[in-house]
């Protein structure tokens, strides 16, 4: 199936071409080139998906993984090697589809959004690089291949966040994103090392096969080996999850995500909403059988981290005033949903509902979150500001965006029949089945979600009070900015946000490959939906018209609000750890020690030699008699030495 290789190759070609020659020769062509490549990629991905899901994939009612292409890339030992290949199985195909689709959307959108940008070609080449890396990640056959592309994804994210490199905040944000995720990757790497040592293979297929069979010696070895009282398998899986948590911005490694909004908005839509940030979820899903069958403890960690992140982010999102930051926190919250859905799931059959729900939510979320971001992009383009206070009442000037944004908000709030409703419902029911605590937390978070999303919605499009939004919007060119590409994409995605939920997702994706019918239990849905609607109404109450209701409430909350506004001071804690501890207590002393002690040691040797040499200089007194005295003394002592040695004394 060479077309699957081509899916990856096309973005790469686009990257290389516009990366090397784009600046000089293809200044305006590179956007088209990237988009066309992406389009072809998407079509290929769609055909692959069609082929897989409807023609070749199902064998005996089960979707099995196939590997159309694989090569040995780097061999470590006879057993361990990095194989680069393409794995086609339900989730990878789903991801291929999502990634190529969202990427295509973003490519198209950027044609309008980035027009006239000085580094237009560079932008497209980075975008293509990202897509390539992300595709490589999702089709990975080998856990190390995942890691390889994982890193590439990280760097392309870095490049895109730091795209406006002359802006100090963008530089800082890109740095932060890269370093935090890298820190998490350290866990991933360590996890891979632990896992591979016992598994004797790095291929997912082998790892899963060996670690899910209780009789397998590999599994026994890793389960019995323990470090600090915890089995090596738990260590490995938890460490790998740390890697995933870093990429997916799970608490407490989430700090990079809000800052990452410094990048161009389409980038945020692509990377920080729809694709890269779900890589962590995808990674856990990829190894799901191992988690679920052999190490429920690690899976429990996933669930807890997921639900904490979901609630935590939702709380913070309620207080933020930057449109993209609110979206970022909402992303974090939604990914938390996916995570804990995986965490509460079991392997196989009905028990595997959480897994399916998680993937489903991933799928729907990608669509409506991309839409939200792209809408936000249009708004920002229009207003030239990210701050909610600069907006308000935009429904008149941007009617289309108003509608699409509303659809997306409804989708994320889980209002039927929009996409989010279906997937969220599955998640909640999975949580309900397995863990009531998580379920109640999730319900509350869902309500919060609808509150903050509609807060955002109302503050942007209504909330106009006395001031005219147009005063800030630069009408003269705002009209031209919302080009056909941008609006078109919004419409397409809005349609997606409406219909995506109707996909019979369980038919295709489930924990064990067998079809798992999705079903909506109306009675079960009543509570979450009504809570969501309550959230909407609450938001409407506060933010439909400009008033000081919200401010009074926030003042009433006092320190709680301040804490939320400051995102629980997590950033400050990080800053403290990095600046005070790592820089001042580790790096600076290391540099000092090196200069003064280690190097000083060498210099001291030299100095000591010199001092010694000077202290001896009196010997060479210039007086011939003392020379002779030394001479005689030397002679006598030599005589003594030799006689003594011969025992003649």
């Amino acid at each position: 199936m060479s077309s699957s290789v081509l899916i990856l190759l096309l973005p790469f070609i686009s990257f290389v071409v516009s990366g090397i020659w784009g600046r000089k020769y293809l200044k305006n062509f590179s956007g088209i080139l990237g988009t066309v490549c992406m389009l072809v990629s998407f079509i290929l991905a769609a055909s692959v998906a069609y082929n897989y899901f409807f023609v070749t994939g199902r064998v005996g009612g089960q979707y099995l993984g196939t590997i159309p292409f694989e090569m040995n890339w780097l061999r470590f030992t006879n057993e361990l090697s990095i194989n680069i290949g393409i794995l086609i199985d339900p989730i990878s195909v789903m991801m291929l589809l999502v990634v190529t689709f969202i990427s295509l959307m973003v490519h198209v959108y950027s044609l309008g959004y980035m027009k006239g940008e000085e580094r237009y070609a560079t932008y497209y080449s980075f975008l293509s690089l990202f897509t390539f890396s992300m595709l490589g990640l999702v089709v990975a056959t080998n856990i190390f291949q995942t890691y390889v592309f994982w890193e590439l994804v990280g760097v392309s994210s870095f490049l895109l966040i730091g795209f406006y490199f002359q802006k100090a905040s963008a530089v800082a944000a890109s740095k932060k994103a890269f370093i935090v995720t890298r820190f998490a990757d350290l866990g991933f790497l360590a996890g891979i090392l632990v896992l591979s040592y016992y598994s004797g293979s790095l291929d997912f297929k082998e790892i899963i096969a060996r670690y899910t069979d209780p009789a397998n010696p590999h599994l026994q070895a890793i389960a019995t080996a323990s470090f600090g009282g915890v089995s090596a398998l738990s260590w490995a899986l938890t460490l790998i999850f740390i890697g995933g948590a870093g990429k997916s911005a799970m608490f407490p490694l989430h700090i990079w995500l809000p800052d990452a909004m410094e990048g161009p908005t389409p980038v945020s839509a692509l990377i920080h909403a729809a694709t890269m940030v779900v890589a962590g979820v995808y990674l856990v899903a990829r190894l799901f059988p191992v988690y679920a069958i052999s190490c429920p403890a690690a899976l429990h960690v996933v669930a807890i981290v997921g639900v904490i992140s979901a609630a935590f982010a939702a709380l913070i999102a309620c207080t933020q005033t930057d449109i993209k930051r609110v979206l970022a926190y909402s992303t974090m919250s939604q990914i938390g949903f996916m995570m804990f859905a995986l965490g509460v799931s079991k392997y196989g059959g009905e028990e595997g509902l959480g897994y399916m729900a998680s993937m489903f939510h991933l799928f729907t979320h990608a669509v409506f979150k991309a839409l939200l971001f792209l809408c936000a992009g249009t708004i920002i383009h229009h207003v030239h500001s990210n701050e909610l206070k600069d907006m308000g009442g935009l429904r008149k000037s941007m009617p289309l965006t108003h509608i699409t944004f509303l659809l997306a908000c409804l989708a994320i709030a889980g209002i039927p029949p929009f996409a989010g409703f279906f997937s969220k419902e599955e998640i909640l029911s999975a949580a309900f089945q397995h863990d009531p605590v998580i379920y109640w937390a999730a319900i509350a978070t869902a309500a919060l979600t609808s509150f903050y999303m509609f807060r955002l919605f109302f503050m942007t499009f209504y909330y106009d009070g006395e001031k005219k939004a147009e005063a800030h919007g630069h009408d003269d060119h705002s009209a031209g900015h919302s080009s056909i590409a941008m609006t078109g994409v919004q419409v397409v995605l809005a349609i997606g946000a409406v219909v995506a939920g109707f996909v019979p997702f369980g038919q295709f994706v489930s924990s064990d490959g067998f079809a798992l019918p999705t079903h909506i239990d109306i009675s079960f849905s009543v509570l979450p939906v009504s809570l969501s609607i309550g959230g909407i109404l609450l938001a409407m109450f506060f933010f439909y018209k400009k008033s000081d209701k919200a401010i009074r409430i926030s003042e009433g909350l006092g320190s709680v609000f301040v804490t939320l506004k400051h995102k629980f001071y997590i950033d400050e804690i990080y800053a403290f750890v990095t600046k005070k501890i790592i820089f001042n207590l580790i790096a600076a002393p290391a540099a000092w020690i090196d200069k003064n002690i280690v190097d000083g040691m060498m210099n001291t040797f030299a100095k000591a030699t010199e001092v010694f040499s000077f202290s001896l200089s009196g010997w060479q007194s210039g007086k011939v008699q003392s020379y002779a005295a030394w001479f005689l003394a030397g002679v006598l002592s030599l005589v003594l030495i030799s006689l003594y040695l011969l025992q003649l004394l």
Binding site: Q625, A629, A633
Partner: protein, 171 residues
């Protein structure tokens, strides 16, 4: 007591006493004279050991040559009557300790060495010495004899060159 015994001790006492005086006196001219006496004592010791030729050489070369040279150089370089500056006491003590220690050490081993004294007589007559001196056979000293002439020549050249006044400088 044998007269030879007495004369040995007398000679020894003589040469050592003047040796000590030669290295301790504060007047340089006297030092030269005491050295002269000490050297004469050594010549006497050679006589005592029946090495007449050597004794003669000693007297001619040392007394007639070196000591005279020394005395001349004393006249050339400084007033003979003045007291010479003394070395520091610490230096003297160190020198004394080294000398006495060295003497004790060497003397100890010399006294305790195994000697196989031979009763043979040395044929130190002039003709024998002369023959050996010019012999190129085993036990002959012709080559050293030649060599020393080179040495003397070289020393002579050296002396002349160094001692010559710079007035004779060549262009």
């Amino acid at each position: 007591m044998d007269s030879s015994v007495i004369s040995f001790y007398a000679i020894s006492a003589f040469l050592l006493t003047f040796g000590v005086m030669a290295v301790t006196t504060r007047k340089i001219f006297r030092a030269a004279i005491w050295l002269l006496f000490s050297l004469i004592g050594i010549a006497a010791l050679y006589f005592w050991m029946d090495f007449q030729f050597l004794a003669a050489v000693q007297i001619i070369v040392y007394i007639g040559g070196i000591v005279v040279l020394i005395i001349f150089s004393i006249f050339l370089t400084q007033m003979s009557g003045k007291d010479m500056p003394q070395a520091l006491t610490s230096r003297k003590l160190i020198a004394l300790a080294l000398s006495l220690g060295g003497f004790a050490f060497i003397a100890h081993f010399l006294a305790h060495a195994n000697y196989h004294e031979s009763s043979g007589l040395v044929d130190a007559s002039m003709p024998a010495i002369g023959r050996k001196l010019l012999s190129v056979e085993t036990g002959g000293y012709a080559l050293p004899f030649e060599l020393i002439s080179v040495l003397l020549l070289a020393s002579m050249i050296g002396c002349i060159v160094i001692a010559l006044k710079k007035a004779q400088e060549k262009p």
